[in-house]
């Protein structure tokens, strides 16, 4: 099954380095990027614990707050990676361990933002992502936003964590779903929207409390604004999910199916334009920025 949809033929194949500042071919000595190129399929395992201090040493080019930009070229991809979070430190450590080397090989100008929901109320993933969008823009003029669950790791670094001309679904072939797309309207896990795409849909809904539905709502928003989903193929798009039991305070949302039946009406009045929250803390760690936020409770 071919997962790539709606892409102009050249778009998938163009390597990142060709879109950076070109090397002047009249020079007698060509300069090459100092990072290694992408490697393709990788082995992903979750059995050896991660030491973040050691990991920072292993990624010396990553600056405080989890920021990196390629030294030898100017990347057009200014990517804020937004991770919704609560009480998943072990997963975060694996995420950082695998993703920092990948993102550097992909030659992105990126920053990592972990958006931590304060308090013990029901989890609200989409609202945390809205917060991440808004807060990241206070740091830098990112033009692209990758939204990633903390427990999803790509198995092939040709799956580029950047934006495309259409909203990008990145986690298309998860091990949990037998390395295939569970349904064609699936937009959960890891996705990438350009700043413009995000603004066009009024961002994400703030009213999905508990597990499920918010990704379907986002899919609906995109479709109603005339956009389509861009995807890598199922080989490049393979991802591993760190197995875990269901979190407390993130039970399946019983309202989700009813809500997604009404996205068209609610998207105008539920999103970036109605986002309210309170930042309680910002931690600039070596490998990530962690923003702790009070997102309130279901009204």
């Amino acid at each position: 099954m071919d997962m790539a949809r709606g892409l102009p033929q050249g778009e998938e194949e163009k390597p990142i380095k060709e879109t950076g500042v070109p090397v002047n071919e009249s020079h007698s000595l060509l300069t090459y990027p100092s990072s290694t190129p992408v490697v393709g399929p990788m082995l992903i395992e979750f059995n050896v614990p991660v030491d973040l201090t050691l990991l920072a040493k292993q990624n010396p080019e990553v600056k405080v707050g989890g920021r990196y930009a390629p030294k030898d070229c100017v990347s057009p991809h200014k990517v804020a990676i937004i991770i919704p979070f609560r009480n998943r430190q072990e997963h975060l450590k694996y995420w950082l361990y695998y993703l920092h080397p990948i993102l550097q090989r992909q030659q992105l100008d990126y920053g990592i933002y972990v958006i931590n929901q304060a308090g013990e109320s029901t989890f609200n993933r989409a609202k945390l992502l809205n917060v991440g969008f808004q807060e990241a823009l206070k740091d830098y003029d990112y033009n692209c936003f990758v939204f990633s669950d903390v427990d999803l790791i790509p198995m092939d670094d040709r799956n580029t964590y950047r934006c495309f001309s259409q909203p990008r679904h990145i986690s298309v072939a998860m091990d949990k779903f037998g390395f295939s797309l569970p349904y064609v309207q699936f937009f959960g896990g890891v996705s990438a929207l350009s700043k413009q795409q995000f603004l066009t849909i009024n961002g994400f809904p703030n009213n999905y409390w508990g597990w499920g539905g918010e990704d379907d709502d986002i899919f609906n928003r995109l479709v109603f604004k005339g956009m389509s989903i861009s995807r890598p193929n199922a080989v490049v798009g393979k991802c591993r999910m760190i197995r875990h039991s269901r979190d407390k305070k993130n039970e399946p949302n019983p309202q989700r199916f009813d809500r997604i039946a009404h996205t068209k009406e609610t998207m105008l009045s539920d999103g970036l334009n109605t986002l309210t929250y309170k930042v309680l803390d910002i931690e600039r760690n070596p490998l990530y920025t962690k923003i702790t936020v009070d997102v309130g409770t279901p009204s």
């Binding site: 569970p182 349904y183 064609v184 309207q185 379907d216 039970e251 199916f257 009813d258 039946a261």
Partner: protein
């Protein structure tokens, strides 16, 4: 020795029922007799089951004072009996029978629900299982 042999015989003749994570194709095979029942096609069933339980027979969800069990997420308010609340128990069955890999009882009860409440008992139907149904074929 004799009791061991009888136990062995019982173990061979009556395999224990277990929880199961189905695949789409396994489920399509098991449910094929539901295709067309009450005007609901097999892909619609598969789609609804995926969205309410992810094909996992052990799915138990509490909400709004009721608990829903198994692939079809059959609730303890009207359809099956558990030790939590008083139930009409229309399917005359213990709810935990919907958590094992034998779907015969689940299908019988689901058909009763369909007869009585229609396909909208299954909430994914309208937003997610009314179109693009080819993807749910095996």
């Amino acid at each position: 020795m004799m009791s061991f042999l009888s136990l062995l015989l019982v173990g061979i003749l009556f395999p224990a029922l277990e929880a199961k994570q189905f695949t789409k194709c396994e489920l399509s095979q098991v449910l094929k007799d539901m295709d067309g029942y009450g005007g609901v096609t097999l892909p619609e069933w598969i789609c609804n089951i995926f969205h309410v339980s992810g094909y996992d027979t052990q799915t138990i969800v509490n909400n709004n004072g009721k608990t829903e069990y198994g692939l079809f997420q059959i609730n303890n308010k009207l359809w099956c009996r558990d030790n939590q609340i008083q139930s009409r128990n229309i399917c005359d069955i213990s709810c935990d029978k919907f958590l094992d890999d034998d779907l015969t009882d689940d299908m019988i009860c689901a058909k009763k629900i369909l007869d009585s409440e229609g396909i909208d008992y299954w909430l994914p139907h309208k937003p997610l299982c009314s179109e693009k149904l080819e993807q749910w074929l095996c």
